[in-house]
Every structure is written in structure tokens, then in C-alpha cells.
Amino acid sequence: MADQAYKVLEALREGWDNESRRYALSELVRIWFEETYISSHKAKSIIDKYVTRLVKEEGGI
């Protein structure tokens, strides 16, 4: 029952135009499904990591 992320990730597999963002989102979804408890501090840090990566991929830095 903990593997419902499967469905979400399945939905993410297609129809998402931005590949980098799709990857970032699927990673976030995966983490949010895997972790039982994510503190707001940790959430911020993880989100920031993926968002920063997106900026880097875009050539923002």
C-alpha cells in the first residue's frame, strides 16, 4: 500500500513537456511518498535542491 507513488509516477511518465521539470517533480513525489515524515525545514531544503538544479540546467548560474 505504500507503493501508491507508482500510480503518480506512472501519470508523470507521459504528457509532461518539460523533461527536467518532470524529473524534478517525479523525484519530489517519490521522496514525499517514501518519507513518513518530512519536516518543513527538510521539505524546504529538498525542494530548494531540485529547484536550484532546474535553474542550473536552464543555465541560470
Binding site: M1, A2, D3, Q4, A5, Y6, K7, V8, A11, L12, G15, W16, N18, R21, R22, A24, L25, L28, V29, W32, F33, T36, I38, S40, A43, K44, I47, D48, Y50, V51, T52, L54, V55, E58, G60, I61
Partner: protein, 644 residues
């Protein structure tokens, strides 16, 4: 290869309701993991379901507890024993992993009533390794979705009522772990808010710094302008002060000069007085000198005359006449001074005395003394002459002084007293103003210095902040991506829900048509986006309202199985009387479907004897185990017999 799923290996009820001590070993002996428990009413068929619910969730499905406590087996206290356990134990496995779950309550007989200890629940591996029960259960069948696994076939219709629709929606969201997505959505929103805040804080900070700098610059400018005003004011005041001081000084000088003149005049007058007195004395001395001059020729003879006792008159001829003249005229014959009555009387007495020899003696004495004085006076003769000359000069000086004084008085009069008064009053006021202005100027200088320090500090801060502009750009970029991610997530969440309802519709249609004998009568089961269940006929009309009780039960079962499919649920399913209202060919279809499903998951069916009679032929050869519950009159308990 058979699909791996979680299954119940065995269930043991000890001292629970009708079960004294019964164990159901549910081993899989066929391809189908199907288990059937048959029992007449009151033999403990539903108790099986309640017991598992009590074990897992500490509550019985049919809520028949007394005071919140499960009913124990009536014959639990054997003679002589007052403390016994009531427990339900279940062995669950997945592949090679196995867990033993137990809920145990100790019962104590107190008089006619029974005292319960708090239930103790545990989940252990066979090697006694304990796990967290709630967490374990969360991965098995959480309570919030338990009604999709343990249910009463007759009560399945409740899923279609309006008030239950939201429950289903919530449950589906729960099953999809929608809460996780929602949490991610919320966390993303919090992140976005924070980043937005950072940008606005930075922007605001910079703007605030610039505003402050502008304010300080303006203030400095105002102060400098004021300083220049002060300079002009000070210069004008100083000029005025100078003028006033000049006026005051000139008046003062004149007064001073006048004072000097007055003092000088006084001094001269004093001197004059003194000199006149001296001159007067000298005049008197001059008279005496005259007398002496008169007496001198007689001085030689006088000694002789005295010896001869001659009268003074004889010594100084004319003396008596001289005195007589003074008495008669009442005036000094030499200085022409008027004589007082007393002096005249004295002279009268003297006149008598002159006639005597004694008087000559006295006169001689006088002459002698006077002679000495007169000699000294004669020696001062030049001084007297000089003094006279000086007095004349002094008189001239005094005259000059008086003239000067008159001129000065005229000058002083030229300056009006009002103007002088005004000037004298104005001077301290102007001084005060000047002091005030100087103090203000000092304060301004102090403030300007302070502002300059602040301006420098702000400029530094601005430089620092401006160097962070790149940082802000980064935050802005992050924000853009975070917003896009959140939008994607929202799209995803909507899509999942809409996919779920679409898939749910497809699966429900599949199961419904598979279990319905009137296979062609209904085209489609449709679950709308707000989870309304519709049954559409071939014309697309919703005919759910005209379904029979059996059809409704099949629909509910189809819906439940569809939910399992969509959610990829694989936990054991226990159904109490799945065919209660179903008759005819549908019974076969339903049982076949359940038997087919049991190839991929464990299905436990609880049937009464009539149900069993109806379905036996379809599933007897497909069930792994079949149990019959029988009431044992001797012990008033149920005995479970495995018949297959």
C-alpha cells in the same frame, strides 16, 4: 510465477465471544487462495469479521461491544480460575516474511462482574522481534480503508448514498496517498511563499535604503541651507552689533571725558581753595610782617625800655593809636577786615594793658616769637609770589575746563537718549540671538556629521545589497521553477483524480458486466469526477434508480473490486454474505469472479447455510479451505471444523 501478496495464514480466537479456543488455519492448497466459512445464524460467522477488526483496530465492526469492551466467551471462567486471558491472534505473511499479531486482554472475575485490563497489542516476527503496530498496520490495511476489505455484502449499497460519496473520494485520495501529494503541494507553496517573501524583503530593503539615503541627503541639504542662512543672519547681526557698540562706545567715551573733566574741575577747585587758604594765611603773615617791620627799629631799645619799665606805648609810639583806630572803626587797619565785638572788647582790654610795663614785656615776647616766624615767612617769600601766580593760572585753567565741559554737554545732548537706550537693550538681545545661532550651527554641524556617518553606512549597505542583486535574480529564477513545479503538481493531482475516476469507471463496468446475468442490459458504470456512481444503459441514460436489490449489491461489489484494481490493493478481503440479495445466474457469476480474483489475493467468504447451499456447486472445488461452524451445546461455544 504467482503474484506475491499479503495473506492471513491463521487466526486464533481465545475466550472471544462464542469462541472458546478456535484456530482457523487458512493454508493455500489450490491456485485459488479462497476460504469459505459457513455457519448458521449465531454460530460466530460475523464474529470472525468482528474479531479481526477488534484485533487490528480495537473496535468491532458491528459495534456490539459492551461499554467499549468486546464481549468475552461466556464460559471463560472455569471453576477455580478467576483470571484468564481473552485474545485474538493472527499470523500474516508476505512471501517468506511472517508476522504474529496479537491483542490480549486479561479478565478478572470480581463478584458477578468482570474487570478488564487494557488491551495489549503487538506485532512480532517469529523470532520475537517486535515491530511498531501502527506502522505495520499502515502497510497492511489502515483503518480508514478497512471497509474496502472487511465488509458486509448486504451493506455495500451505502457507497452510493450522497453522504458516503465524499467518504469514498477521501478514501480514494487516502489510497492514492493523495495526502502525500497534498503535503508536497503545501510544502511547495510554503517554499514559494518564502522565496516571494525573500524577494520582496530584499527589494523592500533596497528601496528602504534608497529612501533613507534620500531622506538623509535631503536633511543634510536642508541643514546646509540653514547654515548659509545662519551665516547671513550672523553677519547682519554682527554688523548691527558693531554699529550699536560704536554708538554705545562713543556715548560712553563722551561721558567718560565729561567725568574726567568734572574730576579735574573738582581737583582744581580743591587746589584753588587750598592755595587761597595758604595765600590768605600768607596775607595774615604779611600783616604780621608789616607790624614786625614797624617793630624792628625798636627791638634793640625794647630791652632797655623793659628794664626801665617803660610803657609799651612808649616803646612803640602810635601803637595805642593803632589799636584805638581798630576799636573805633571796628576794622583791622591793615587788612580792613571787620572785627567782631569780642575782638573789639579784647582790643579794649589790650589798650589798657599797653599802658603798663608788663604789656611791654608781653609785647616783646610776642615780637620775639613773631620775629622768628616772620623770618621763616620771609624766606618763603618767593614761594608766595609763585603761588599767587599759580593761582592766577589755575583760575584760567578752571575757566578753560568749564568751556570744555559746556562743549561736551552739547555733544552728549546730540545723541538722543532713546536711541542709546534702544541700542543698549538691543545689544544683549542680539548677543543672545548670535549665541543661539552659533549653538544652532554647532548642532547642525553635529547632525551633519552624524548624517554623513549614516549616509556612509547606508551606502555600504546599498553596495552590499546591490551585490546581492544576482542573488535576488537567482531567487526569482528559483521561484519561477517552483511555481511551474507546483502548477505541474496541481495538474498531476487533477489528472490522477480524473484518471482514477476514468479507470474506476472502466474497472467497475468490467466487474459489473462480468457478474450480471443481464450482461447486455447495461452499457457502462460511470464514476463522475465528484464520485457519483451512475449506471448507463445503451442509450446513455442513468438507470441506477431502477436497479433491483441484487443488482445494487453486484454494483457495489463491482465498485469495490474496481477500487481495489485502481488502487492496486492486494490485501486480504473478507466479505460477509457477498450474495445475500443476489439470485439466479448472477450468484454463479459473482462466485466465479471472487474465485478468479483469489488467484491473485486472499479472499475469505463468510456464508450462512442458505448462501452455501446456493453457491456450493460453484466454489466447493475451488476453495483452499472450507470451514463449518457448529454450536457445541456442552460448552456453549462454537467449534470450527475444517471440512475441506
Amino acid at each position: 510465477m504467482a503474484k506475491r501478496y499479503t495473506r492471513i495464514d491463521s487466526v486464533t480466537f481465545e475466550g472471544y465471544r462464542v469462541y472458546k479456543d478456535e484456530t482457523f488455519e487458512l493454508e493455500k492448497t489450490r491456485e485459488e487462495d479462497l476460504h469459505i466459512i459457513v455457519g448458521k445464524m449465531g454460530t460466530g460467522k460475523t464474529t470472525f469479521l468482528n474479531g479481526i477488526s477488534y484485533l487490528l483496530y480495537n473496535r468491532e465492526l458491528t459495534k456490539s461491544e459492551v461499554d467499549g469492551k468486546p464481549i468475552h466467551y461466556t464460559g471463560i471462567f472455569e471453576e477455580g480460575i478467576s483470571r484468564v486471558p481473552m485474545s485474538i491472534r493472527m499470523t500474516v505473511s508476505r512471501g517468506l516474511n511472517q508476522w504474529i499479531l496479537e491483542r490480549k486482554v486479561w479478565l478478572k472475575k470480581v463478584g458477578d462482574s468482570v474487570a478488564y485490563t487494557d488491551p495489549k497489542v503487538s506485532v512480532k516476527t517469529p523470532d520475537e522481534m517486535e515491530e511498531d503496530f501502527t506502522q505495520w498496520l499502515d502497510n497492511f490495511i489502515p483503518q480508514k480503508v478497512s471497509h474496502f476489505f472487511f465488509f458486509d455484502g448486504e451493506a455495500l449499497e451505502k457507497y452510493f448514498t450522497q453522504d458516503k460519496r465524499e467518504d469514498v473520494q477521501t478514501t480514494i485520495k487516502d489510497l492514492l496517498r493523495y495526502d502525500r501529494l497534498k503535503k508536497l503541494y503545501e510544502d511547495l507553496t510554503a517554499y514559494i511563499n518564502e522565496q516571494t517573501g525573500r524577494i520582496s524583503i530584499k527589494d523592500n530593503k533596497l528601496a528602504q535604503l534608497y529612501r533613507q539615503l534620500e531622506d538623509y541627503d535631503r536633511e543634510v541639504h536642508e541643514h546646509i541651507e540653514r547654515k548659509s542662512e545662519i551665516r547671513v543672519e550672523l553677519s547682519s547681526l554682527n554688523k548691527k552689533l558693531k554699529e550699536y557698540k560704536e554708538i554705545a562706545n562713543s556715548t560712553y567715551d563722551l561721558s567718560l571725558k565729561m567725568k574726567e573733566k568734572e574730576l579735574k574741575e573738582e581737583e582744581l577747585n580743591q587746589k584753588m581753595k587750598m592755595w587761597k587758604e595758604k595765600l590768605s594765611q600768607w596775607n595774615i603773615a604779611g600783616v604780621k610782617l608789616y607790624i614786625l617791620a614797624l617793630a624792628k627799629p625798636y627791638m634793640k631799645d625794647m630791652q632797655k625800655k623793659i628794664e626801665e619799665r617803660e610803657s609799651a606805648d612808649a616803646v612803640i609810639p602810635g601803637l595805642s593809636d593803632f589799636i584805638r583806630y581798630a576799636i573805633d572803626k571796628g576794622r583791622c587797619p591793615i587788612c580792613q577786615r571787620d572785627l567782631s565785638a569780642e575782638e573789639i572788647n579784647n582790643l579794649k582790654v589790650r589798650l589798657k594793658d599797653i599802658a603798663t610795663a608788663d604789656a611791654t614785656q608781653i609785647l616783646y615776647g610776642i615780637f620775639q616769637r613773631s620775629y622768628g616766624r616772620a623770618t621763616r615767612l620771609l624766606e618763603d617769600r618767593d614761594s608766595i609770589l609763585l603761588l599767587g601766580k599759580e593761582v592766577a593760572e589755575l583760575e584760567e585753567d578752571i575757566e578753560n575746563l568749564k568751556r570744555q565741559k559746556a562743549k561736551l554737554a552739547k555733544d552728549i545732548k546730540r545723541h538722543l537718549p532713546e536711541e542709546v537706550n534702544k541700542v543698549m537693550k538691543e545689544i544683549p538681545r542680539i548677543n543672545q540671538q548670535i549665541e543661539k545661532l552659533i549653538e544652532e550651527r554647532e548642532q547642525i554641524d553635529k547632525r551633519i556629521n552624524e548624517l554623513k556617518t549614516r549616509i556612509q553606512r547606508i551606502k555600504n549597505a546599498i553596495n552590499k545589497n546591490e551585490s546581492r542583486v544576482r542573488d535576488i535574480d537567482m531567487v526569482r529564477k528559483k521561484l519561477t521553477h517552483a511555481l511551474a513545479l507546483r502548477e505541474d503538481l496541481e495538474k498531476l493531482m487533477n489528472r490522477i483524480m480524473s484518471d482514477s475516476t476514468r479507470e474506476l469507471s472502466q474497472r467497475a463496468t468490467y466487474w459489473f458486466r462480468k457478474m450480471m446475468w443481464k450482461e447486455n442490459a447495461f452499457k457502462e458504470v460511470k464514476i463522475t469526477d465528484d464520485f457519483e456512481v451512475q449506471v448507463l444503459d445503451d442509450k446513455g441514460a442513468n438507470v441506477i434508480g431502477s436497479l433491483s436489490g441484487g443488482e445494487n449489491q453486484i454494483l457495489a461489489l463491482a465498485y469495490t473490486l474496481a477500487l481495489h484494481d485502481v488502487m492496486h490493493l492486494e490485501s486480504p478481503v473478507i466479505i460477509d454474505r457477498p450474495t445475500a440479495n443476489i439470485s439466479g445466474d448472477s450468484t454463479e457469476f459473482v462466485m466465479n469472479v471472487l474465485a478468479d480474483i483469489s488467484k491473485e489475493r486472499q479472499i475469505i467468504l463468510l456464508l450462512n447455510d442458505k448462501d452455501w447451499e446456493q453457491v456450493r456447486k460453484y466454489v466447493e472445488n475451488r476453495a483452499s479451505t472450507i470451514w463449518v461452524l457448529e454450536h457445541d451445546d456442552a460448552t456453549s461455544s462454537t467449534v470450527a471444523k475444517k471440512v475441506a
